[in-house]
Symmetry: C2
């Protein structure tokens, strides 16, 4: 029975029952964290044999312990190119953090500009950026840091609402970029359709220095390795559409080997790659090549990496299934929430009725379960409808997750019942 | 006999002899590199046991494999603080490259400003920077990248010429910083005197956002561990002089463990450290904590690090002595050159007669010995007198170094003789 179909007496009875259950949870002294997309210990253990690798010589004889090799060892570039599905010559291997590459990419555009004219964004007045919402808080944070105006664009199951995107970028030359997580989007787990990818590659833009920030963070992070989501090759689509320098592509092994001790890489059109190499030459002498060799020797090739991802999937899939089953069982018939059931990535997106997200997150916290802060999936942390919550099932154990998901459902129900009663 | 005392006939006879020797060198097909301050293989081998360390738990229980800990594990901060002779709470541990920290420090000042008013340098017109010369090309390169005007200040045996520095910074608010390598300066190996350090800490500056970029790159890189150079504690001197936020201090283990796979750190006044932490939170989630643990467990403490540096000194000291002996033997009586004899660091500074540095470097290259490009020790690579050459003895073997040093002396002699003959 849907909550909205209940009369006041039914709702009041339900409320008393839910409050009792909530009080029981409070007594349990839970201390669970579903706030960030962190791999769990079992996932991290999968990569421990990588630390046995003490290779110091690159294939070309380079001593990987010493200075030099700005853009990555040749075998590291080849490996990251295969991983990111782009040609080797379009890749630069950086340090341990793709977020850091994204920040530096925005910084370089801001200070030095991008092709074709290299006019710094700092000298072009108020810069605007498109942010598909709900989205990733750290993406928004980078462009917030530089003071850009963030324009929200609604997400659909096929990616950003392209009619809105096309109309905005066609008419406003101050719009210089858009944040995209094309496969298993954060937080929905949506996969960009071929049409979305093609339209992003081909759409006319008023700004000749417009860029698509393509954070392919979850490109191999399938929950079912037999049904991997596929997206079009964005670099090739942009080139085919006559916009070869439009994409800024990012990837990392942070959620494959070790967050903080993985490899991160950047891919772009040929001219952009050369331009970035020139600018980064004053930033550093080179990144950690020993860690590059560790990764290469551990995986061997892209097949080795995919076999490794199957082990991650075996750990993560039951966790996502547990949350999905609990949500369906507890909330499926009540009509008070909607959520996504991703086939990969690290998150699920959950919507309460408007005005309840903060309340639900606060209630969970009071009972010992920490969620991503409500609003985090929107620029400046402001979800005007106060309804979106990002669920991150990876970190807790299956048993902890069961408790956390049940408590979460309880809080959603209680908050919804209270809202209905207030409105009656 | 000094070259200048020779008559034309003597010079011509000498020239013919030197040309014959040079031709013999050309036939040898040498391929030696003295261009960069790279550790040699034996030095890199010293740190190989560090790669056996597979510690993943920090002392406080943090899983160092996972996300988080923006400013470094507590034990990493404590270790780098001891290494840099500053309090723990003033330290941030970054990634693998102190150059990268310096670049980001300039970038943050440029985009976001520094204390007390956080007025971005980009909004303050033409920014000027003091560059003690000869100096380090990569320092100059960072400030060149941001388009600053680089003002040369002569170096003395006690550090930058302080009368010049004080007069410039007192009168020109556009001067926002100075590059300093206070111990074993690059390329001279000079050590800043106590008076220099105190004057840098206390001097009045027209700009309230003036900063001293204190790259203490060689703080433990002594050639004689029994006679380590000491410099005053710059952070404390600045605080005592009422300028607690003036210093930006940089250090790294690149030339202690592995270049490219070391630890780099930043130290500054308390308010600056807090400000930087706030800004860097949008740049990255954290650096490689596994590498932090590798370093901590390998060295144990600062005494372990100093014991390790003694092994470096045992390798490097004979190389510096070989070059110094060769220079003295071949050029000591000729009056055509001057050079430094450092007690630490990675370089010697060598001056030819004006107008000959490029020629000598080119002659060496033609005979198979690569030196740092002439001019590299000056902003924009322009040594107006064309006389300074940086010598980097660390990388070649002792035998290779003997040949390279002898060829170098030969080229200096030949170029000097030719110059004298042209002028006669």
């Amino acid at each position: 029975m849907q909550l909205k179909e209940m009369d006041t007496a039914q709702l009041q009875a339900l409320k008393i029952d839910l409050q009792k259950q909530y009080a029981d949870y409070q007594k349990m002294g839970l201390k669970l964290n579903m706030s960030r997309g962190k791999p769990c210990q079992e996932q991290l253990d999968l990569a421990m044999p990588m630390l046995d690798i003490k290779e110091t010589r690159a294939a070309d004889g380079t001593d990987a312990r010493n200075y030099g090799v700005l853009d990555g060892l040749p075998e590291a570039k080849a490996f990251m190119a295969a991983f990111m599905s782009v040609p080797e010559e379009n890749v630069i291997v950086f340090g341990n953090s793709s977020l850091n590459i994204m920040y530096d990419t925005v910084m370089r555009a801001y200070v030095f500009g991008v092709l074709p004219n290299n006019t710094p964004w700092k000298d072009q007045g108020k810069i605007k950026f498109l942010c598909p919402v709900p989205g990733y808080d750290r993406h928004f944070g980078v462009t917030e840091a530089f003071g850009f105006e963030l324009i929200e664009v609604p997400m659909t199951e096929n990616g950003p609402d392209m009619a809105t995107v096309e109309s905005l970028v066609a008419s406003d030359a101050q719009i210089k970029g858009i944040w995209c997580v094309p496969k298993y989007s954060n937080p929905q787990g949506y996969v960009y359709s071929d049409e979305t990818v093609r339209r992003l590659a081909a759409m006319p833009t008023a700004a000749d220095d417009f860029r698509v920030f393509w954070d392919n963070a979850y490109c191999v992070h399938h929950l079912d390795m037999d049904k991997p989501a596929q997206i079009l090759d964005f670099l090739a689509e942009c080139a085919a559409a006559g916009n070869p320098e439009r994409p800024f592509i990012f990837g990392s092994t942070s959620k494959i080997t070790f967050p903080g001790a993985g490899l991160a890489a950047f891919a772009a059109g040929e001219q952009t790659v050369n331009y970035v190499k020139k600018l980064m030459a004053s930033q550093t002498i080179g990144y950690d090549k020993l860690n590059q060799l560790r990764h290469i020797k551990f995986f061997g090739n892209i097949d080795g990496l995919l076999a490794h991802m199957a082990k991650h999937a075996a750990i993560l899939q039951p966790k996502f299934a547990m949350v999905a089953d609990t949500l369906q069982r507890e909330l499926g018939d009540l009509g008070c929430a909607e959520w996504t059931n991703p086939q990969g990535g690290y998150f699920m997106s959950f919507n309460t009725w408007p005005g309840l997200a903060k309340k639900v997150v606060a209630m969970c916290k009071e009972a010992g379960v920490e969620l991503t802060g409500a609003g985090a999936t929107y620029p400046h942390g402001i979800d005007k409808e106060d309804k979106n919550i990002r669920i991150a099932p990876s970190m807790p154990s299956l048993e902890d997750l069961r408790q956390a998901a049940e408590l979460f459902c309880l809080c959603v129900k209680l908050a919804s019942v209270e809202k209905l009663l207030t409105e009656k």
